[in-house]
């Protein structure tokens, strides 16, 4: 056992006592050395010059009751023992000068004596490991019996040593992370790390959060969970307001978001507070924020920067304090380049950006989510549906294969499970049901998946002519054809394709330019756009 060293102040009141009667009182510093189950091998006793006589008597009494203890007296004169700055500086200096050797000695900082300020300083110095020891407190016996030294307790400030505290910390952290993950089942280490990071940000920050990822990756679910987490931690008290910006196009968008006052436009029959005001003291989740018009973007920016905005038709600004979570499946940086998204708003949103991977990038999560979807179906429909072993294996084999596109991510998986559960005879999904479902998914993804470049062009030019076109040109032409097919007219397609030149005013006739390009391959607008 390492020699035990106690360091502490002389108690100028509690350690007092001149005559024999002093032994009938509890004196903390003396009692320190009277315990049957604690032996102090050395006591470093700090006192002021004016208490030298008392220190000497205490030292002598300790020598008598504890011949094993060596008492060393240290003079420390404090002008004001309640002055934090002075006491801390003095003790810090004392600790710095003390030749601590924790490998050969065990240090206990005796905090029972001295002012509360001294206690705080001891605590700080020990917690900061300037003093490599543990705190010790002695308490008088509950009922006085002559000489009873009372009790002593040793307090180790290393929190990791306390199982229950450590477990609780872990559990609370876990609770946060699993809180966010519920509904987003995962086995993916990378995804788990991201969820943990989001948790940290969600708990500590009120800044906007941007969630990116493909449709159905779980952005909206995650936003809702962040809200619930913050709400459970009493960080917000307002509601969760969710809106998909793709549904806000046109004239109604402004008024839906920012509200309007009665009579501000035709049909404005009454005041409308708007979504931003509804989200006051809560969270506003703007999904597909890339779909928001430029005017609305400007208003949103002002609303998150100043927490104020002007409702439609109002002449006075209103206030709303909300945290913004934005979702997008677009590359917003590219939208900024094409002028469809405000750069300053992106900069504001970009502080915390989390990219939610699609299900294809999280194949290890298909299995846990399968279980989750089944449980959700059971909850919604009231009947429990299970796979038989072979059916489950067959479905997972397909689901995790490269062939499975999961183009709508969790939405696809959810729909797939719902279909199988509905068709399952007596609540059991068998191989037949799975085989049908796999076919259904294949067909669906075949329809939606983009055709390879060569296939697009082969339909227009014929395989033979295609064989004489360089790969260089095939890639470009296929891209042009795709834009044409998505555009209403030759001019619209031209505007999209030559947007950059158009912005630089270096080309005015986009339609003509496109027409000539197509002609190089013997193609006409009508033929290209026909499909």
């Amino acid at each position: 056992m390492k020699p035990r060293v106690a360091i502490g102040f002389l108690g100028s009141t509690l350690d007092q006592g001149k005559n024999a009667e002093r032994w009938q009182r509890w004196r903390p510093t003396v009692s320190l050395c009277q315990h049957q189950d604690l032996q102090i091998d050395r006591l470093d006793l700090i006192h002021g010059t004016s208490h030298a006589a008392l220190a000497e008597r205490v030292a002598q009494d300790i020598a008598q009751v504890s011949p094993e203890t060596q008492v060393r007296q240290h003079v420390m004169d404090l002008k004001d023992p309640w002055d934090f700055e002075e006491v801390y500086a003095a003790l810090h200096e004392f600790a710095r000068a003390y030749p601590f050797d924790p490998d050969t000695e065990d240090y206990l900082v005796h905090i029972t004596t001295g002012t509360h300020v001294a206690q705080i300083c001891w605590f700080l110095l020990t917690e900061a490991r300037v003093i490599p020891g543990r705190l010790m407190q002695v308490t008088p016996p509950r009922r006085w019996k002559d000489g009873d030294p009372g009790t002593h307790s040793i307090i180790d400030l290393d929190l990791s040593r306390y199982d229950r505290i450590a477990t609780r910390f872990r559990a609370e952290r876990q609770e946060g992370a699993s809180f966010l993950k519920s509904g987003i089942e995962t086995k993916s280490a990378a995804f788990n790390r991201m969820i943990e990071r989001i948790e940290q940000v969600a708990i500590r920050s009120k800044s906007p959060i941007l969630l990116t990822g493909p449709t159905g990756a779980g952005k909206s679910q995650l936003a809702r969970r962040i809200y619930e987490l913050k709400h459970a931690r009493h960080q917000i008290k307002g509601p969760f307001v969710e809106v998909n910006c793709a549904t806000l196009r046109g004239d109604g968008a402004m008024s839906a978001l920012f509200g309007h006052i009665k009579g501000s436009f035709t049909g404005a029959m009454a005041d409308r507070p708007g979504l931003l005001r509804a989200a006051n003291t809560g969270i506003l989740f703007l999904d597909e924020i890339g779909e928001l018009g430029l005017d609305e973007q400007a208003m949103i920016l002002r609303a998150i920067e100043d927490k104020r905005f002007l409702p439609v038709g109002a002449d006075k600004e209103v206030a709303s304090d909300f945290q913004l979570i934005a979702g997008t499946n677009r590359e917003l940086a590219r939208a900024v380049e094409t002028g469809r998204f405000r750069e300053d708003l992106l900069a504001r949103l970009n502080l915390w950006t989390f990219a939610l991977p699609g299900l294809r990038e999280r194949r290890e999560d298909i299995e846990p989510n399968l279980a989750f979807e089944l449980a959700r179906h059971a909850q919604a429909s009231g009947e429990t549906v299970t796979f038989n072993k072979e059916a489950r294996a067959a479905y997972l084999a397909f689901a995790t294969s490269p062939e499975a596109a999961w183009s709508a991510n969790f939405r696809d998986l959810g729909a797939s499970v719902t279909r199988m559960a509905t068709l399952a005879p007596s609540g059991r999904i068998n191989e037949t049901v799975v085989a049908e479902e796999i076919e259904r998914l294949r067909a669906a993804w075949r329809r939606t998946s983009a055709e390879p470049d060569a296939e697009i062009l082969a339909g227009l030019l014929g395989a033979q002519r295609l064989a004489h076109i360089d790969l260089f040109d095939v890639a470009q032409l296929a891209a042009v054809v795709r834009v044409c097919r998505e555009s209403k007219s030759l001019s619209a397609a031209g505007r999209t394709l030559f947007a950059a030149s158009r912005a630089a005013k270096s080309s005015t006739n986009d339609a003509d330019r496109l027409k000539k390009y197509l002609a190089r391959f013997g193609l006409m607008w009508e033929a290209v756009a026909a499909r």
Binding site: A20, P67, E68
Partner: protein, 338 residues
């Protein structure tokens, strides 16, 4: 290696002290396990370590687990060295208990020993210096030991500060002893001693004790004694031809002088009523010397759990048998046979 279960029976400290003495004398190492296992503060306490360290010092023993709170101790004694020893006992612990541990050992040394002891001399739950001097040592001397003690200052709990000296001459072989009756009572006296507390308390105790025992008032003497801290001890002595017995009471704050007297007088009466010459404490202390002598017997009162536990430890070290015979009317005979 002898293994002793420290949680069995009663008197954890007594088991340890007996084992230390016998291990040192016989040279047989021992392991004590589950030390004070069922106590609120389990393991070795400072008062126990004091005895361990003293015995180890005298025999240059090799030890493991000799630390505070330890639940297991291994003790391998070397040769016994007599000589000068200074034992300073912490927490005002009983110097008498330490002395009784090392006395049998030093009787087996080659040279005389001179001990200086400091700490407590009058502790509750331990024999007092008066008891040692006038009750225990006379019996040991009758067995052939040459021991003398002299008190310099009394030490009470919690201040301690008592000090005394002891001289021990080697006497390898103790003679068996037989105490069948106490003989004629020659002296009955009461001392009520106070240190650093009002003398009136001593006076009240003396008066009350004499009255309760219906002894003449002159038998009781209130005294002020010198000590570092406060202390009060009541000593009631009955000296007969073959045995002197002493009964001790301690004053403490919150307990009236009268209550201290009543408690002590009750023990005296029980002893007198039973008419057994050896009181329960002396009985415990005679077991080891008798076992070392290899014979002898005495009549005492109903054996306590301490006594039976102690007998069990002795029998594991020495080739002896200690027998308890119920003589009726609360009297028992303890006899030792090889």
């Amino acid at each position: 290696m002898i293994t002793i279960d420290g949680s069995a029976g009663e008197g954890g400290g007594q088991v340890l002290r007996t084992a230390l003495s016998l291990s040192a004398i016989t040279g047989r190492p021992f392991a004590l396990e589950n030390i004070r296992a069922k106590r609120r503060r389990p393991g070795l306490q400072r008062q126990h370590l004091t005895c361990v360290t003293a015995a180890a010092q005298i025999t240059r023993a090799k030890m493991s687990g000799a630390e505070l709170g330890s639940g297991a101790l291994r003790f391998e004694p070397g040769a016994i060295s007599g000589g000068a020893y200074d034992f300073a006992i912490g927490t005002a612990g009983s110097t008498i208990l330490v002395f009784q541990t090392v006395l049998p050992i030093l009787l087996h040394a080659d040279v005389p020993s001179r001990l200086t002891l400091s700490g407590g001399t009058h502790n509750p739950m331990a024999p007092t210096f008066d008891y040692l001097e006038r009750v225990f040592l006379p019996q040991i001397k009758r067995m052939g030991a040459d021991v003398d003690v002299s008190l310099h200052q009394a030490g009470f709990y919690p201040a301690g500060g008592g000090s005394w000296m002891a001289g021990i001459s080697p006497s390898q072989k103790l003679q068996p002893l037989s105490i069948e009756n106490a003989g004629e009572v020659r002296l009955r006296r009461i001392f009520a001693d106070v240190a650093n507390i009002p003398f009136e308390i001593a006076r009240r105790e003396a008066r009350k004790a004499a009255a309760m025992l219906s002894w003449p008032a002159e038998a009781a003497t209130p005294r002020t004694i010198k000590a570092d801290g406060p202390g009060n001890v009541l000593t009631i002595e009955i000296a007969a031809d073959y045995v002197t017995e002493i009964f001790t009471g301690f004053g403490e704050r919150g307990t009236s002088a009268e209550a201290v007297v009543a408690r002590t007088v009750k023990e005296v009466r029980e002893y007198l009523v039973t008419k057994a010459p050896v009181g329960p404490h002396l009985a415990d202390q005679l077991l080891l010397p008798l076992a070392l002598a290899g014979g002898g017997s005495f009549v005492t009162m109903h054996p306590t759990k301490h006594t039976t536990t102690n007998i069990a430890v002795i029998e594991t070290f020495l080739p002896v048998e200690l027998k308890l015979d119920d003589l009726g009317d609360g009297r028992w005979r303890v006899s030792v046979r090889r």
